[in-house]
Amino acid sequence: MTYCLHILICLSLIIIQTTVMPYIPLFERFYDLLTPFIIYLSIFRSVRESIVIVFIFGFFMDIVSGGPLGLYLTAYVWLFIGVRWAITFLHVGDSLLLPFVVAAGVLMENLIFVGISAMFEQSPRIFETMASTIVVQVLWALFTGPLFLMFFSYSHRQWDRWFKEILAKKN
């Protein structure tokens, strides 16, 4: 059932990102909404539960995006590994650190994108705009990232409670 919730959240995030946000000028340079979710999975959920979602939705994002196949998959897998590694010595569950973790995650994802874009062709002029976009995305992440994490955590608690209630009623 937890997988169902994860799939539901990821699908909703992809749809919002590809259909709703492009029509709102304010969110023109918003960061990838799946990034905070991957960070949430890395920090608060088990590897067994998360890794499947990371792979499936990395692939889904690759399909809906125009980048080289495997770009999002690469970014998500390394983001997941990076955050899992960071929580071995950082208490990132601490709410004070969360904005910085999300911002770092967004920065890391963008650096992977830039690195891969640099590897495969690309005119140098394209990188001029990338820097400003990355700064804007990191700032967005700094202020809104923790809200997403709180929302995911809340959704999960509600989902578990709702599921337990259904089970209790059945029994």
């Binding site: 699908l11 259909t19 692939f59 399909i63 809906v64 196949l69 690469t74 994108f113 002029r125 705009t129």
Partner: protein, 278 residues
């Protein structure tokens, strides 16, 4: 023999190497819509379509019912524009007829087909780095990879991936896109590549051509994808370097990609092989 730390470092290096190799292989996008990809797109696209339709529905209500006053004013302006367009239309019909006669005379092949298919944009690229859109027509509607996608204002892009009912369109503002084009006035030829901030770069234009800001750039038809003579955009900046054989030309597309909602897919028939006259 090796410490745990060493094994981990080697593991990470191997993982990075494998990752880069796989990305290099998959960077050739020809294999992107194999079976799992089609399943993924079939799962996401209907939701995107429903979401886009809902947004359009709400927006249409807003436009139609709350902006009636503005619409009335606009209507007057449109009426005037329509009258003017009507005059132009008659003139263009005359041009068309004379063009038809001349083409027949010169035995030219028809450069654009009348067969177009309209499609709705149901989703945009999730990343700001890439400029693609998803449309609601696919293989079942006769769409094929490589077909040109246009709007009345000009060229929009090219179909890069096709699934049963949906297709992905690479817009001309994407840095992976390339369109063979020429300046309408002096026929200077070059390649339109995606640039930054929704602008295009007109590359490989020789320095000898005097290109001015405002010049119209049209497709040359030489790439075998886009029909000849379709508007691409207008020249918005020209930099002539002191050395080198090319000049740097920036082209602003006529198409407003932010507001791209409906597109036309040019269903060009397969080009006939050249047969020498008997």
């Amino acid at each position: 023999m090796f410490s745990k730390k060493m094994v981990m470092i080697i593991g990470v290096i191997v993982l990075i190497a494998v990752n880069i190799i796989l990305l290099s292989v998959f960077n050739r996008r020809y294999i992107s819509y194999y079976r799992p990809g089609r399943i993924a797109i079939s799962l996401i696209a209907p939701f995107q379509k429903a979401s886009t339709s809902s947004i359009h529905f709400v927006r249409d209500i807003w436009r139609h019912y709350f902006f009636v006053v503005n619409v009335a004013k606009e209507n007057d302006n449109y009426q005037k524009a329509l009258n003017k367009a009507f005059e132009n239309n008659i003139q263009l019909k005359e041009f068309k007829l004379s063009n038809f006669r001349l083409r027949n005379l010169l035995n030219f092949e028809k450069t654009i087909t009348d067969r177009v298919l309209s499609a709705e944009v149901i989703g945009k690229d999730p990343s700001p780095w890439f400029k693609t859109v998803l449309i609601d027509k696919g293989k079942n509607d006769g769409v094929e990879t490589g077909m040109a996608v246009v709007v009345p204002k000009g060229i929009a892009g090219q179909v890069t991936d096709v699934s049963a009912n949906y297709s992905k369109v690479l817009l001309i503002i994407d840095h992976n896109s390339a369109v063979d084009a020429l300046v309408q006035n002096d026929r200077a030829r070059g390649i339109i590549k995606g640039g930054m901030a929704e602008q295009c770069l007109f590359k490989y234009v020789l320095r000898k051509h005097d290109i001015e800001i405002g010049n119209i750039v049209v497709s040359s038809g030489l790439d075998g994808v886009f029909p000849k003579g379709l508007a691409v955009g207008y020249v918005s900046a020209v930099i002539k370097p002191k050395s080198g054989i090319f000049q740097e030309v920036t082209v602003t597309p006529y198409v407003d990609f932010e507001k791209l909602e409906e597109v036309l897919i040019v269903l060009n028939p397969k080009k006939k092989k050249f047969e020498p006259e008997q």
